[in-house]
Symmetry: C2
Subunit: 644 residues, 2 copies
């Protein structure tokens, strides 16, 4: 089984471009694929809020955490409504990058693009770190292997996504509903148990000391604390924009389907996030370094029964799905930016399964690096998160506001109000997050985004300058002379006089150019045999021999080309013709010096030098007599017998 | 600082071939470099004998070990005298490979060559493992890091040897004398202390129980045990052949210098090996898994004083030198075999410092692998050792015997007797080692050597067949016609109509061949713009467009070349001309698809296809108007502005 066969088995057969239209999905399959990021945040958002509050205000956290959660849910509804409008206005996909570029100009567009790209990477890191945390909550013995587990999950993600859009949707959609269901069951049973049986305290952890034992906070410090917890909780809202970004992935009418998906999403996040926050308050759950809040709740409600494991399993899977959202959207975002020539154009190429392979791989590598650097710790990754997403939200909402103000379509006043409210709320959130999280990690993102934008501008400048030089206007095309004013010179570097050299000489001479053979003598007298054999040849091709005391080959050749003796004039083109010996088995290649390939690599970039490689197969000389006469045996062109 | 500068700093400036004669050394510098292997074996040979005897016969070991050591010293003197004769007969280097090939034929020569090559690799592994054991004896805490330490030493060896012969000799010669001296001091002080103060037992280890407590051995088992201990002790004699192999490295008169070196070597091994064996008997030293016998003796005699550390340090360094012997000889051996075309010819190429780089690297990699596989444990490596060397000894001595019987030069009877005795003794030793050590590891080498010989024969066959096809006899040279009977066809794969394509068209047309442009359309309608632009061109070059539903580029090109439509006849040569866009900064290369280079790689091996790469610099179009007219700006050929 060759490498190619293995890769086809794992990644699927290649798909023709015409199949592009078929790779679409409906609301039922599409919603979970694109919005699992937002839904899955339930698994860590409550945790992160308590993680901030608990050390400072202890049991009082259970008073303030639900209030902060309520504010975040309010923000969720504003965003849901705002984005439904974006979908209607941009039925071909209205990611923040497009909306901001369209309405605010290129630079705000790039800011949105860079912010979103950063956050997709963090989505993968955070979701997978949290997914692994769910596994570890069930099997704490796996804690030391968390980074390896996370990296394995990323590799599986990459394979799934390289296979293609629709298949990944089907594989990963059902568990989202399973997660929503299992969280709802947890919340309902938990509430019933609390109000009927009551709860006598968890045995996983002892509760912290009463609020009195904690240091008293100044009013300013208290406000800062609440805002910091709010910032952490806002991680719950990342991923909301995914549906608007992915509108073209829905079956027609795409916009309608995308809008329905937003309604579904809003309800799902409200029920699960709100439910877990409510339950954590009831059960006074305290964050633990190894066991998540959800896992503690599941244990408190169900004990170590099968239901506990079901909740951990569905949590892990939805978090993997959240990472998958980024795998679906990040490559599309980059391909759009690549079409505008702000990132390398390879990111706009569709792979053999019609998805943007390069974007998928870039995302996997960067997210994997973050997991390694931060040792797969969700708490350490969270402060980097959300700054970018809320920046993109703000720009997108502001863009939509400008959109309505400009177009003044039916009912624009109402729509402008909604988007304006969204813009203001998300802007306030950006400021809160950037300030409260600056020291704990947000500074990395705050510095990184401008840096990414600078690189993007630099890339754009490069592409523009290249295009400007390469493009030929139509008038110029008509006037173009296709006859060159320069002369050709062919140089054949040779090692000894043999059949391969004869073939090269025949090829070179039939080009009708001036031909020279070139040999490097590595020790004195080494070239004597060659000189003698050359003199026997009935040919007008001069043999140039240069002595190279240091046994180099390329340097003397270049020196000769640049020297006065060589017949070429400045601006002439020199073709270096390299006879390359080809053997039928690849391992036999290791038995030959392959000097030609070394020379080819060394000369590839040299100005005014064309490097030509002439393959030579021993088997080509079937009839020696005819070969001596210059009569080559008939063989179909392009046929090859190399095993590889 | 570029990679090139760093490598030049570490490995030294390159040396011209003319300097080859200067890289020679005298007896004082040359002996330690070539015979440290034999001398250094003192550091483990006594250890290995006791390691075999002690568990079986306990304290009785101290009766038999010195006797076995005496037999080995007898063998040492026979070999020293035998090899002095080899040096006289082969003043240009008479390694076992040459002597056996010369006198017994190719196959025995190959057996000797393969055996020696195997043992050089083991010399590096064993010596470095034992050297690390000496370090660990001084600092037992380093025991878990032994593999890493060993690999670091190998890397240092490689760097030293890549720098060149003379320098490595100077760096590494003085410590050999220091080692001999420190062992002599140990033996003399140890003997004096024992006979004056007496010795009241070591506190490093308790002695084993008395002989009575051990299971009684049958006579056969006892003989086997003694022979097995002898086999282990024979490791002391590996490396004796090194001087005869390296004769040309001595200053003239090389043979005289090499013979003097043999006398020095014999005396040094006798004194140090005999001395340590004698002292171990006096002090009843018991082998220990972490602390070597020499280290225990040094401790018993000097305590943990500076002299203890001096002995450990000189031991480590001489063992590194022993490995260095292999680094000096293995590449020379391989280069000789490569000249006979039994191993890849690259092994016969001298590097920029005049040594055989490839051989050095091959040795380092294989020895490093052995150390990793056997976890740097000398006891595990020893059974693999010595089989090969004694096979080579036997073949070399037999070869010398045949040599004298054939030539009958002055005093041949006496010389034949010495070499005959050597042949018989070493042959008996091979059998003893192969039988007693077979199960503990010698089987690996017994299987490996025939395998290596098979590969060598296969390589030789390949080279002979290639040479037979490539070589052109002088009569044929005179009759050779250098005019080809085939036609040229140039195909230019293009992406769009741009300045780079114009340059390629000019180049192709000036070759005077039939030219076609070829484009792959990846989705329908994508090529329309190109078609339109092409129609504006005033040129007779047809534009071929092929649709590729799966977005591949190379496959449609090959299909087209093989198809009927293409004008070429079977046997014609097709030149695929690839315009390659070159940018001034290497990181900008990442911004371009570089499809040309992909196509070039895919086509390199294809029969009857010449791949030509035409570099295109934006800067070449300085004067747009002149460029349109086909008038290229003057630029010196070969100049390049790529940063690399």
């Amino acid at each position: 089984m060759t490498f190619k066969q293995v890769s086809r088995f794992v990644l699927g057969e290649s798909l023709p471009s015409a199949k592009l239209g078929e790779q679409k999905f409906n609301v039922f399959w599409g919603m979970p694929l694109l919005s699992s990021d937002a839904i899955s945040s339930v698994a860590y958002a409550v945790d992160e809020m308590l993680y901030i509050l608990m050390p400072a205000i202890g049991a009082a956290s259970f008073v303030f955490m639900p209030r902060i959660a309520a504010v975040i849910i309010g923000l969720l509804f504003i965003l849901t409504f705002s984005y439904r409008q974006t979908v209607a206005a941009y039925p071909n996909g209205g990611g923040s990058y497009i909306v901001a570029s369209d309405n605010l100009g290129h630079l705000p567009g790039l800011v949105a693009g860079a912010s979103l790209a950063t956050d997709y990477i963090l989505t993968v890191s955070v979701s997978i770190a949290a997914g692994v945390a769910a596994i570890i909550s069930a099997f704490p013995a796996l804690y030391p292997e968390r980074v390896i587990i996370a990296l394995c999950i990323i590799i599986l993600m990459v394979i799934g996504n390289l296979r293609g859009i629709k298949e990944s949707s089907r594989i990963f959609s059902i568990p989202t509903y399973a997660f929503i269901l299992s969280i709802l069951v947890l919340v309902i049973f938990g509430a019933i148990k609390y109000y009927t049986v009551g709860f006598s305290g968890t045995d996983v952890l002892v509760h912290p000391s009463a609020a009195g034992a904690l240091p008293a906070l100044t009013e300013a410090a208290f406000v800062f604390l609440i805002l910091k917890a709010f910032s952490s909780g806002c991680a719950a809202l990342t991923g909301i924009e995914a549906i608007s970004n992915g509108v073209p992935n829905f079956q027609p009418p795409s916009a309608k389907h995308a809008q329905h998906s937003y309604i579904l999403l809003g309800i799902a996040v409200f029920l699960t996030f709100g439910g877990v926050a409510f339950l954590a308050r009831l059960y006074h759950t305290v964050p633990h370094p190894v066991i998540t809040v959800t896992a503690q709740l599941a244990y408190d409600v169900f004990g170590r029964t099968w239901m506990f494991y079901v909740i951990q399993a569905t949590t892990t899977v939805i978090l993997a799905l959240a990472a998958n959202t980024a795998f679906a959207d990040f490559p599309i975002l980059l391909s759009v930016i690549a079409q505008d020539r702000y990132v390398p154009r390879q990111l706009a190429l569709r792979g053999h399964r019609l998805n943007f392979n390069n974007g998928i791989l870039v995302l996997a590598v960067l997210a994997g690096l973050l997991i390694i650097v931060f040792q797969g710790d969700t708490h350490l990754l969270i402060p980097l998160y959300a700054v970018g997403v809320f920046t993109a939200f703000t720009l997108s909402q502001t863009g939509m506001l400008v959109h309505w103000l400009r177009l003044k379509t039916e009912g624009w006043q109402w729509k402008a109000c909604i988007n304006g409210l969204g813009a203001v709320m998300t802007f306030i959130t950006v400021i809160i997050i950037a300030v409260t999280k600056f020291l704990s990690g947000a500074w990395i993102v705050v510095l990184l985004i401008p840096l990414i934008i600078l690189v993007m501008l630099r890339i754009h400048g490069h592409y523009r300058s290249v295009a400007c030089h390469l493009d030929i206007p139509n008038e110029e095309l008509k006037a173009l002379s296709l006859d060159a004013s320069y002369e050709h010179h062919v140089i054949i570097p040779i090692d000894s006089m043999n059949a391969m050299v004869v073939n090269a000489l025949r090829y070179a001479k039939s080009l009708g150019s001036s031909v020279e053979a070139f040999h490097v003598e590595t020790y004195i007298g080494e070239a004597d045999k060659l000189r003698k054999k050359w003199s026997l040849l009935n040919i007008d091709v001069p043999l140039i021999i240069r002595h190279s005391p240091n046994r180099q080959v390329v340097a003397p050749l270049l020196e000769y080309i640049e020297s006065e003796e060589h017949a070429s004039q400045p601006g002439d083109i020199i073709t270096v013709l390299l006879p390359q010996f080809i053997v039928t088995k690849w391992w036999d290649m290791a038995l030959h010096n392959n000097t030609s390939l070394f020379i080819a690599n060394a000369l590839f970039h040299k100005r005014n030098i064309v490097v030509s490689v002439l393959p030579f197969y021993l088997e080509d000389i079937i009839d020696r007599d005819r070969w001596v006469q210059g009569d080559l045996p008939a063989q179909s062109a392009g046929e090859t017998i190399l095993d590889d």
